[in-house]
């Protein structure tokens, strides 16, 4: 047992910290603001800069543009960036696609995509859910019909993060409508500029445009962009989702540490109703609890990262990471608003808005985290079935 990071990991962390101090992440333009996942906003410019540093593909093989280092090093870099609220939204979700290509891609696909991704030249979305297929992916209705050297795709996808800003998208579609539901699905790599692809951003209840819906009408996809085997898309997607659950949520503790620090500073400096907030025992107790939960979250995240680093499965561990991070994120936003009081409802840029209206935004946005990427209910099912071996219902 050893909870130290290795010298290499610490060295990389120091480099990243140094980078963040010299090139402050908040100075890069953002296409989507920090969405409360714990790892900042969406910035093509910043992603590109990370690509230049080689930090988008730390764990990929060198021959595909990676640094050939470990997943733990990749994690440490992301953690340090998250603490500095660097915008990682644009590329972090792409990790799942990248892992899919590394594992299931053809040599040609690896050569085509991975170096570009490593440079930050192309950003990805993941198009799985449909209006009639949310938790129930087996119900996927988007069709892909073979036609000569192409597949022709028709259908609709909903909720892919940043699809309106992404260059490429991983799409799950039904290739064999006659096979049992689970055995007729395939995954495709789709160029978002392909004719027939229409993307509309969705305005969420926090007022942000981070999700989108994708309409596919007779979209022709060359066969070489089939990822993995035909009709074997589902296991591939489940594998990717495991990573998606992890990379999408594993930085909560790092990003929210800053939130906690800001709340502590606010409490120490503020009064309400004529009383110093720092004398409020209930707030003190609540903030301490958040601090502890962030530490618990950190350990849960590290454990999953450690498993992933060894190439182990994190089927249910990633669900633990996600449930804990998402519900903690909601608690932090809730506590933030408790600290800030009634004035927290002001979400403009006036001097009356507290702590740059961040918590007000998070309060609304984080509502969605326990729904997106598999609801907390689905995650708990996974923990019960795969983590504890309980029988299926």
């Amino acid at each position: 047992m050893d909870f130290r990071f290795s010298d290499e990991e610490e060295k990389l962390r120091a480099e990243v910290r140094d980078f963040c101090e010299k090139e402050p992440p908040e100075t890069f333009p953002c296409e989507i603001e920090d969405e409360g996942y714990g790892f900042g906003g969406w910035s093509r410019a910043f992603t590109k800069r990370l690509g230049e540093k080689g930090w988008l593909a730390i764990a990929w093989p060198k021959e595909y543009g990676g640094l050939g280092r470990t997943i733990m090093e990749r994690y440490v870099a992301a953690e340090e960036l998250a603490y500095h609220r660097a915008p990682q939204y644009g590329h972090l979700f792409g990790d799942a696609v990248g892992a899919g290509i590394v594992t299931y891609g053809t040599e040609e696909q690896k050569k085509e995509f991975l170096p570009q991704m490593a440079r930050g030249d192309i950003l990805w979305a993941t198009g799985l859910s449909e209006p009639g297929a949310g938790s129930d992916m087996l119900n996927t209705a988007t069709r892909a019909v073979k036609d000569g050297d192409d597949y022709v795709l028709n259908g609709q996808k909903i909720w892919p993060t940043g699809a309106h800003l992404a260059d490429w998208c991983l799409i799950l579609a039904r290739t064999d409508p006659d096979a049992p539901k689970a055995r007729g699905l395939s995954t495709f790599l789709i160029d978002m500029r392909s004719p027939g692809v229409v993307v509309n951003p969705i305005i969420d209840m926090a007022g942000a445009e981070s999700f989108a819906e994708i309409f596919l009408e007779d979209v022709r996809v060359p066969k070489r962009l089939l990822l993995g085997q035909e009709n074997r898309g589902l296991p591939l997607v489940f594998g990717c989702l495991e990573g998606d659950r992890f990379w999408g949520r594993c930085l909560r503790h790092a990003g929210s540490k800053k939130d906690l620090e800001e709340l502590v500073e606010y409490i120490n400096q503020s009064s309400y109703d004529g009383r110093r907030l720092k004398d409020d025992q209930v707030l003190r107790d609540t903030l301490a609890e958040i601090a502890i939960e962030l530490e618990v979250s950190r350990m849960l995240n590290y454990k999953a990262a450690w498993l992933l680093n060894q190439g182990a499965s994190i089927s249910w561990e990633s669900s633990v990471v996600k449930v804990f991070a998402d519900e903690l994120g909601q608690r932090i936003a809730h506590v933030g608003l408790q600290v800030l009081g009634p004035e927290a409802q002001i979400r403009d840029n006036s001097r009356w808005a507290r702590l740059r209206k961040r918590f007000t935004f998070l309060y609304n946005f984080n509502r969605g985290l326990s729904l997106a990427g598999g609801t907390s209910e689905i995650q708990r099912n996974t923990i019960a079935l795969r983590g504890l071996g309980l029988p299926r219902s």
């Binding site: 859910s129 009639g132 297929a133 949310g134 938790s135 129930d136 087996l138 119900n139 909903i158 909720w159 969705i202 305005i203 969420d204 209840m205 007022g207 999700f211 503020s270 009064s271 309400y272 109703d273 004529g274 209930v282 909601q330 608003l337 408790q338 009081g341 009634p342 004035e343 927290a344 409802q345 002001i346 979400r347 403009d348 006036s350 009356w352 007000t360 309060y363 609304n364 509502r367 969605g368 326990s370 729904l371 997106a372 609801t375 907390s376 209910e377 708990r380």
Partner: protein, 375 residues
């Protein structure tokens, strides 16, 4: 013991529900959240025709002379319909005039209020002060036959359309007398400056500066320097009224949810057949029942003229938390679709947050309850 509403109340409920379903569709509600004014004259005038602004006003002033419980029935439906506009804030001002105003003030204001010709609001909270009335700073100093008001009020609802602002101030007389008073201030006075605030619920709240606003001594509600008690009572009435609105909102969130989970099919079954969804819904129902009857208890006591502050505090403390729990579970049951800005659910969940704060949140009221139970 009677948990049922009267026939008249049930009729009022039905009329209100039908009216709001027709005249206040959710698209209008969303549009009004983005609109600068926040409501339409058309809707306001139609509500006036139904006599709603005059519901609590005595008949002799042109009102319907309904009880507070009648008002609660109406507010519940307004919460259910997510009604935008200044009805609620104007009602609070109306209640202040009704409860503490002189005959002359009533004669002057209530008929216009009952006709819908006069919009009121109340200005209490200030930067850094919510409803801890002893900590308020805004001041009115006697100067001849006037008071001169200076200070800042924050989170004043619908100040942009208020003809009369019921303003809580510290008063200071030339004779050395001081205390808290409620003043009726002309909402259009040029010495008042307004700044709109963008808020979580899309309601219209304002930062209001009183820059030497003059109000005659006749504008004092009730006795001067005795306003502390009035204010506490007004806040308690406001808290119960807000609870009623929240009960309606929570019921709407509950109905949206049960409808959705009966229809939404995943894994070949409606998700409402899944035990986790059923238990979420059951928890919503338990909380809804709880907030409903603790609210009715406080409302009934207020309506009967019985002491009701403790019950008001209990109701607001409970409802503030319960309504958040209910809308949270509603979101959890709806999945991603309820997270879209153009879905109806966020109308309720965002208002639940604003309502939690209005007239004091759960902890604020529990502090009062702690004293009441002898701590």
């Amino acid at each position: 013991m009677d948990f049922s509403f009267s026939e008249e109340q049930e009729m009022l409920r039905k009329i209100a529900r039908d009216f709001l379903a027709t005249e206040c569709p959710k698209d209008l509600v969303r549009q009004m959240a983005r609109d600068e004014k926040g409501f339409t004259d058309d809707l306001w005038n139609k509500m006036a025709e139904l006599g709603w602004m005059g519901l609590p006003v005595p008949e002799k002033y042109g009102g319907i002379e309904g009880s507070f419980l009648d008002v609660v029935v109406l507010l519940e439906e307004m919460g259910r319909g997510a009604l935008p506009g200044p009805f609620f804030s104007s009602l609070l001002g109306t209640l202040a005039v009704l409860h503490f105003g002189s005959d002359r003030q009533k004669e002057d204001l209530l008929p216009k209020i009952a006709r819908g010709d006069l919009v009121l609001t109340v200005a209490i909270s200030e930067p850094g002060v919510g409803y801890q009335t002893s900590a308020l700073q805004c001041e009115a100093v006697a100067d001849g036959s006037d008071y001169v008001i200076n200070g800042t009020k924050l989170l004043v609802e619908n100040a942009h359309v208020a003809d009369v602002v019921v303003c809580a101030v510290r008063t200071r007389d030339a004779s050395g007398g001081q205390g808290t008073s409620l003043l009726l201030v002309d909402g259009k006075d040029p010495s008042i400056s307004l700044t709109p605030l963008e808020t979580i619920a899309g309601d219209k709240q304002f930062h209001v500066n009183f820059n030497g606003v003059r109000a005659p001594q006749s504008s004092v509600l009730g006795e001067v320097n005795k306003g502390h008690e009035y204010l506490e009572e007004l806040l308690a009435l406001g808290a119960v009224a807000k609870c009623a609105e929240m009960v309606g909102a929570a019921q709407a969130a509950m109905d949206l949810t049960t409808d959705y989970v009966k229809e939404r099919v995943q894994f070949d079954h409606p998700i409402g057949s899944l035990q986790s969804i059923q238990h979420h819904c059951a928890n919503m129902k338990i909380d809804l029942e709880g907030m409903r009857y603790i609210t009715y208890l406080a409302a009934w006591k207020a309506s009967e003229g019985l002491p009701f502050r403790k019950e008001a505090a209990m109701a607001k403390a409970w409802a503030s938390d319960a309504c958040i729990r209910i809308t949270n579970l509603a979101h959890q049951c709806h999945g991603a679709i309820g997270f879209c800005e153009d879905h109806d659910l966020p109308l309720y969940s965002k208002r639940a947050k604003a309502s939690e704060w209005a007239f004091g949140g759960a902890r604020f009221h529990r502090q009062f309850v702690a004293q009441e139970i002898g701590l």
